[in-house]
């Protein structure tokens, strides 16, 4: 049986040639993401903003205008939007801050106002205290993850690898937040779960490359760093493509068939896998050069005195 080979054997792609452009491009993307975050902000879900979320399903196609009319009288500033099927409507109500029992009362009033013609698919109510705690927990988790992975790589490799890995990781997290800010996608707890998973996947990818770099450093003691990194990347290329391939297949399946509830998560994963793969090649690896990775006494400076500029 003929085997399918996605990646030709013995590729010799000169990745490092474009490293300066790639790093600049990445820096721009990061700056853009941070700017979008600062200016547009994230579309926080009720997990972090507090408030009430109700998903209702009507008998026939939903008449959002009529529903809005019924809720207008309550003066709650309810926001309605279609969601998934044309019979489903998402109702969002802002956090009620006058005492903890206020949100409960609001849910009751909404139920009364909408009457019995609607099916309540889900009702979520998060008070101010809990939403504050969830924001804290989410941020702590992401920061701790970055730290833990830095420490782990530091242990297993030299410090330059640790820095490279974490910068690549931070880049992935920033760009993911950026795309959420840009597209206005809902940012809630499952998004944080996606970010942590992306972190894990990205480091996973980076470590595979680093492992090969470390092996080659021992094997080819006199090879210039640029070439050695290129070699390592080419050697791991088929694995990278294949694993990203299978993971993307799985996540695409999740995105298309998994339903609207986790579509935000699936989209984040798709984005994260692509960005994570890119960052392993064009951030984690080139940074090793910029950090003067010395090996067995042969000094490597930033590349200015190398004989051949590729």
């Amino acid at each position: 049986m003929r085997l399918v080979n996605f990646v030709p054997i013995g590729t010799r792609i000169d990745f490092m040639r474009f490293r300066r452009y790639a790093l600049m491009f990445s820096a721009v993307m990061c700056a853009l993401s941070i700017a979008l975050f600062a200016v547009r902000g994230l579309n926080f879900g009720i997990d972090f903003r507090g408030g009430i979320l109700i998903e209702v399903r009507t008998q026939g196609p939903a008449d959002i205008g009529a529903l809005r009319g019924k809720l207008e009288g309550l003066g709650l500033g309810a926001q309605l939007q279609g969601f998934g099927a044309d019979t489903d409507v998402l109702i969002r109500i802002q956090r009620q801050d006058e005492g903890e029992g206020a949100q409960e009362a609001v849910v009751k009033r909404v139920r009364d106002a909408l009457g019995s013609g609607v099916e309540y698919r889900r009702v979520e109510s998060v008070g101010p205290k809990v939403s504050g705690e969830l924001i804290e927990a989410g941020t702590e988790a992401v920061i701790l993850a970055l730290l833990a992975m830095l420490i782990y790589i530091w242990f297993r490799f030299e410090w330059q690898f640790g820095v490279g890995g974490v910068v690549a990781l931070a880049h992935d997290v920033i760009l993911t937040i950026g795309v959420f800010a840009a597209l206005g996608l809902e940012f809630n707890l499952t998004t944080v779960a996606a970010i942590l998973t992306i972190a894990g996947y990205s480091i996973n990818d980076t470590v595979v490359v680093y492992d090969r770099v470390r092996e080659n450093l021992r094997k080819y003691k006199t090879m210039p760093l640029d070439d050695l990194l290129n070699l390592s990347l080419n050697e791991t290329l088929s694995r990278t493509i294949l694993t990203s391939g299978t993971t993307l297949i799985a996540v695409f399946s999740l995105y298309i068939f998994g339903g609207p509830v986790i579509s935000g998560f699936s989209f984040a994963m798709i984005w994260g896998i692509c960005v994570g793969t890119y960052s392993s090649i064009y951030i984690a690896t080139p940074l090793l050069i910029h950090m003067n990775l010395r090996r067995s006494g042969v000094a490597e400076d930033g590349g200015e005195t190398r004989t051949a500029e590729s």
Binding site: A193, S238, G259, V261
Partner: protein, 526 residues
């Protein structure tokens, strides 16, 4: 690594079979699985509320109220201590402060006697004195015990109330310092339950103040020792609830009730109640002394009934009649039987998923899983041929093991948890890809089949460990910091990493190595 010791082979096969075995109950219908004997694997995966539908209620207990009450009784103790038989000690400024009480003694001469008296009256508390001023505080441990006691008591009362409602498998547990988590599978609308759980239900019996006239009541003027309380159900001509002048002194309190049942009297639903002997005596005394006068039955500072005492009630039995429906009479009886909550409760987080969405989520998750699985299996077969098939078999065992572990540990499977499984499908092959790519490389470099396979497994091993451990770190952190459905994702992701490492390093290796020894090929078909 191409030689696997016999005992290891047995162990690997055994674990794989166990994985498959413990996953199979999930293929059976619930009733069938429950009926299996205990020595067979019979546990099914426990579905989260977002998949089976149900309510998640996070309740906060207002412990500050309880602490304030205890500080108030601390103040009472101080007051009593400074008024002993031997003569009252002059003091001033007896009040509650932030987390304790303070008092200042008038005369310098009394200070040492006061210290003695106060010390013995407030044993166990932190005691500070500064000249004539004393500050008495509960210790850290004391405060912790108070908090705990209030939360435990509330939890017990909530449990009693929920038990009476006869719900399917409710899960009630303490969360953190002052919160209680109630999970109710199958409950699509928790409103009624929230009303019952959340109601303090403190019942007291008072006399009404007869000296207050209609105008006084309307104007809001009441003599001391009386307070105006609204009626629970009666609305006056001005559209507002009718107000009653209720004497603050409690005649009998609901703490002494031993039973309450809904019944019908004269065709209308009422609640009949029974006091214990102490309550019965108090009630008997109070009714005997006040025949012909009206009294108020107050629930949570609202008057639910205000009948006239027609004759002394000595037996300790009584009837509360008012504007009851069958439903509300049943609820009130339930509340009285379970006892009053010591402090108010608030619902700080609520997530309810209806059965419709739950079923849809399961279906969506399952479809995504199956399609993902088929796609990956085809992919692996195309790229790696025979070895791809081995990897696929290992993938199936992997998935079965995840299900098996979830079933045995009774960890909850949520929708993000299913996403975690789909993700594992994609990432599990990574270990195999690393190994196979390495073997390919070694073979291309000129090694013999056995040597190539050996080197492949050898070299790839540490990479696999490094890579998977980092994802495991993410999974563990997510478990610690996550809650609810996100935790479910962390669980499946972490379990998935462990099982895929096992299946790639152990099971696939077993199959490939076995095939290699049997077929002794000249070249590895990879």
């Amino acid at each position: 690594m191409v030689y696997i010791a016999r005992w290891k082979v047995v162990l690997i096969l055994l674990l794989s079979i166990l994985g498959l075995a413990f996953a199979t109950p999930n293929a059976l219908k619930r009733e069938v699985a429950d009926a299996l004997p205990a020595w067979l694997p019979h546990k099914q995966v426990s579905l989260g509320l977002d998949l089976q539908g149900g309510s998640y209620l996070l309740i906060e207990v207002k412990v500050e109220d309880a602490i304030r009450e205890r500080l108030n009784s601390l103040i009472d103790s101080i007051r009593d201590a400074l008024t002993p038989r031997g003569g009252r000690i002059g003091y001033t400024g007896l009040q509650r402060i932030q987390n304790g009480a303070t008092v200042t003694i008038r005369n310098e001469a009394d200070v040492s006697r006061a210290r003695e008296l106060l010390r013995s009256a407030t044993q166990g508390f932190d005691f500070e004195s500064d000249g004539r001023r004393f500050v008495i505080r509960p210790t850290e441990q004391m405060t912790r015990e108070w908090r705990s006691a209030v939360v435990e008591q509330s939890l017990e009362i909530i449990r009693r109330r929920i038990d009476e409602l006869g719900l399917r498998e409710p899960d009630i547990q303490r969360q953190g310092q002052d919160r209680i988590l109630v999970q109710l599978p199958g409950v699509g609308n928790p409103q009624e339950i929230k009303d019952i759980i959340g109601k303090t239900a403190k019942m007291t019996f008072h006399l009404l103040d007869e000296s207050a006239s209609q105008q006084d009541v309307a104007g809001g003027r009441v003599p001391p020792g009386t307070v105006l309380m609204p009626s629970d159900s009666e609305i006056g001509p001005d559209g507002k609830p009718v107000m009653y002048p209720v004497r603050t002194r409690v005649m009998v309190s609901g703490e002494t009730l031993v039973d309450a049942q809904p019944t019908i009297e004269q065709g209308r639903p009422v609640v009949s109640f029974r006091f214990d002997s102490l309550g019965a005596r108090r009630f008997g005394d109070a009714t005997r002394r006040n025949v012909g006068k009206p009294f108020a039955i107050v629930l949570d500072n609202k008057v639910i009934s205000a009948p006239v005492i027609r004759e002394p009630i000595l037996g300790g039995n009584g009837i509360i009649s008012g504007n009851f429906t069958t439903e509300s009479a049943r609820h009130l009886s339930l509340l009285l039987r379970s006892g009053a909550l010591p402090v108010p409760l608030t619902f700080v987080e609520e997530r309810t998923v209806g059965p419709g969405l739950g079923a849809d989520s399961i279906r969506a998750g399952a479809i995504a899983c199956i399609i993902g699985l088929v796609a990956v299996v085809v992919f692996m077969g195309l790229v790696y041929g025979l070895f791809g098939v081995f990897a696929n078999i290992a993938l199936f065992v992997n998935l079965a093991s995840i299900l098996a572990l979830l079933s045995v540990l009774q960890a909850t499977l949520t929708l993000p948890g299913i996403a975690g499984i789909v993700l594992t499908i994609g990432m599990a092959v990574d270990a195999n890809v690393l190994i196979f790519e390495r073997i390919r490389e070694e073979q291309r470099a000129g090694r013999t089949p056995i040597s190539a396979m050996d080197a492949g497994y050898q070299r790839a091993f540490s990479t696999i460990i490094d890579a998977n451990l980092t994802t495991l770190i993410a999974g563990i952190l997510l478990y610690i910091f996550g809650s609810g459905p996100v935790r479910g994702f962390a669980v499946t992701l972490s379990i998935g990493i462990v099982t895929s490492m096992f299946s790639a390093i152990m099971l696939t290796r077993l199959m490939t190595v076995h095939w290699l020894r049997r077929m002794k090929p000249k070249v590895l078909p990879i």
